[in-house]
């Protein structure tokens, strides 16, 4: 996995979205799906696009793939316009909820897609990479939901792309197939590929991305390493059983921001949990059953997207003509 953190300016460009916006006209008025976003992904990086339904993830992905033209802003994929990158076989994508066509075997379907590209992987290699060799001769209409997803993943890999784009790839997979899927994804990404994936599952972003981009209401509300996003809202908490009557005595300890009591247990919300735990153990050596927890990405996610919802609520959603 490539190093996270500051972007090396010399690093080759993977994906570059600059000031990209897109609105749709619907029967109920204009929907601003994406309201001006800037994202850059370095080559070889794995980035998760997180956000609730309607956040603009799929629209952003469609623009990245050249399926939708942005109203304003620019999109570049591996230094080219999206359509050119797609035609050159540099991009493989797994779109949301696409069905597979009937009356062909898995092998034939992969072979067809591979045949459309200039320099594809061998069909057998794709089957092995995704781990679906045993269903290669099955007709597509006889696959289970999880198997169909794996086949769609295989189609995305067929061109041996440099950039892999996955729009909520594990929807409909059981735990087992999900694990298998991510293993395969990792194996492929390890060849130095760039990966952008949209997901609802925060643990997937945590486990498989170097960086997470959080979207809400068409805007980016956070962009950074998953650990950093968590830290932005994340205040670690210390829980311990401490024999102390006056909570104020705990509140004045260094690194402690707030104190709360739940029965025998006190909960210290910390600005600096390292300082707080040292001080706590110095002052109260009999403190026991100590737990230090960092907030899940889930909490960070809820907090950040809730803020954005508030910000949007005060802004008039004017109809664009």
């Amino acid at each position: 996995m490539p190093a996270t953190g500051a972007l090396d300016l010399a690093a080759p460009v993977g994906v570059e979205l600059r000031g990209v916006a897109k609105a749709f006209r619907t029967s109920r008025g204009v929907v601003h799906a994406v309201r001006g976003i800037d994202v850059s992904v370095a080559a070889g990086e794995a980035v998760a696009l997180l956000g609730p339904n309607g956040a603009g993830k799929s629209t952003s992905i469609d623009m990245l793939l050249g399926l939708t033209r942005p109203d304003s802003g620019s999109v570049s994929v591996l230094g080219r316009p999206p359509r050119e990158a797609v035609d050159a076989g540099l991009v493989g994508a797994m779109l949301q909820a696409g069905a597979l066509i009937r009356d062909v075997t898995v092998r034939e379907l992969i072979a067809l897609i591979a045949a459309l590209y200039p320099d594809p992987l061998a069909v057998d290699d794709v089957l092995d990479l995704v781990g679906i060799r045993e269903i290669a001769d099955r007709r597509t209409q006889k696959l289970s939901g999880g198997q169909a997803q794996r086949v769609r993943f295989a189609l995305a890999l067929a061109s041996d792309p440099e950039l892999l784009v996955l729009d909520e790839p594990t929807v409909g997979m059981d735990v087992e197939s999900r694990r298998g899927f991510w293993e395969a994804m990792r194996a492929f990404a390890a060849r130095g590929k760039t990966v952008v994936f949209a997901t609802h599952y925060l643990e997937e972003a945590d486990a498989y991305a170097d960086r997470a981009v959080l979207m809400a209401h068409g805007r980016i509300v956070a962009d950074g390493p998953t650990t950093e996003i968590r830290a932005r809202v994340g205040r670690r908490t210390i829980r311990a059983t401490v024999d102390v009557d006056d909570l104020e005595l705990l509140a004045v300890l260094p690194g402690v921001a707030a104190v709360d009591r739940r029965g025998d247990v006190v909960v210290l919300t910390c600005s600096d949990s390292d300082a707080a735990i040292r001080a706590l153990l110095d002052e109260y050596p009999d403190a026991h059953d100590i737990e230090i927890a960092s907030p899940g990405l889930e909490d960070a996610f809820l907090e950040l997207t809730a803020d954005a919802a508030g910000a949007v609520a005060v802004e008039p959603i004017g109809a664009v003509r």
């Binding site: 076989g89 994508a93 949301q96 696409g98 066509i101 009937r102 062909v104 459309l116 061109s159």
Partner: protein, 244 residues
């Protein structure tokens, strides 16, 4: 190159769909034997100067082949609904190549219908000089052009749910007013029908009489419908692909 690969794939897939083949090839054959079997000795059917088996052979070729090409639309519509079209749009296969493959597959199915009905016609005593068979086939293939465009048009206009009833109804109606089921004579029906491309499909049987099966009107009607429907198809296709 990619268009060729996709056409091959499309054909293989179609020929493997046994139910589709049984219905689209079997249905016109059953109708043909049911109608033309009992009347196979009639040499001048309804004053047309054409034998009854030949008349219905060509009539049903028109019906079946029209169906085959309009069915292209049903395939396009369902692949749009399923998201397969989107999947293809993130490959180097161009939308044009996709449409070409669809139309070629439609024509291949039409050729199967033509071949199976010709063979059945011969069984019921249809005899024509070789050059007449060729001329008739050419006229039918040209006469199908408007329906190839119509298939693409409805495929991008309608949804997978509505396209079945819409095209089924349309083809039945066109067949009825174009003389597929009985000769139209010289009345009002005939006056209307000659402005329809499907009428000229049925008229291809008139090669048996010697001379030209299509009058100048026939060529103009077919060309005009082809041009008009091709424009509509292009409009619907553009509207659709910009949104997808």
């Amino acid at each position: 190159m990619t268009a060729l690969a996709y056409t091959r794939f499309e054909l293989r897939r179609t020929l493997r769909n046994v139910r589709l083949l049984v219905f689209s090839l079997g249905f016109p054959l059953i109708l043909f034997f049911a109608i033309a079997g009992p009347g196979r000795h009639e040499t001048d059917f309804g004053g047309t100067g054409i034998s009854l088996p030949l008349y219905y052979m060509v009539g049903l070729v028109g019906f079946g082949a029209m169906m085959a090409l309009i069915s292209t639309g049903a395939r396009i519509a369902s692949e749009r609904t399923d998201g397969w079209t989107r999947q293809l749009r993130i490959t180097p296969l161009s939308s044009r190549a996709y449409l070409r493959a669809k139309v070629l597959t439609g024509y291949a199915m039409a050729l199967l219908t033509i071949a199976s009905l010709y063979a059945s016609g011969v069984v019921l005593g249809v005899r024509l000089p070789a050059d007449r068979w060729v001329e008739m086939t050419m006229l039918i293939l040209v006469g199908l052009l408007p329906f190839a465009a119509l298939g693409v048009f409805v495929g991008h206009l309608l949804t997978a749910d509505t396209i079945g009833p819409a095209t089924g109804g349309l083809v039945s109606l066109l067949a009825l007013v174009s003389g597929t089921w009985f000769p139209l004579g010289d009345g009002f029906m005939h006056d209307v029908a000659q402005w329809l491309p499907s009428y000229w499909l049925v008229q291809a049987s008139h090669v048996a009489l010697g001379g030209d099966a299509w009058s100048a009107t026939g060529w103009i009607v077919v060309a005009a419908w082809t041009a008009a429907l091709a424009l509509l198809a292009r409009w619907a296709y553009r509207r659709d692909t910009e949104r997808v």
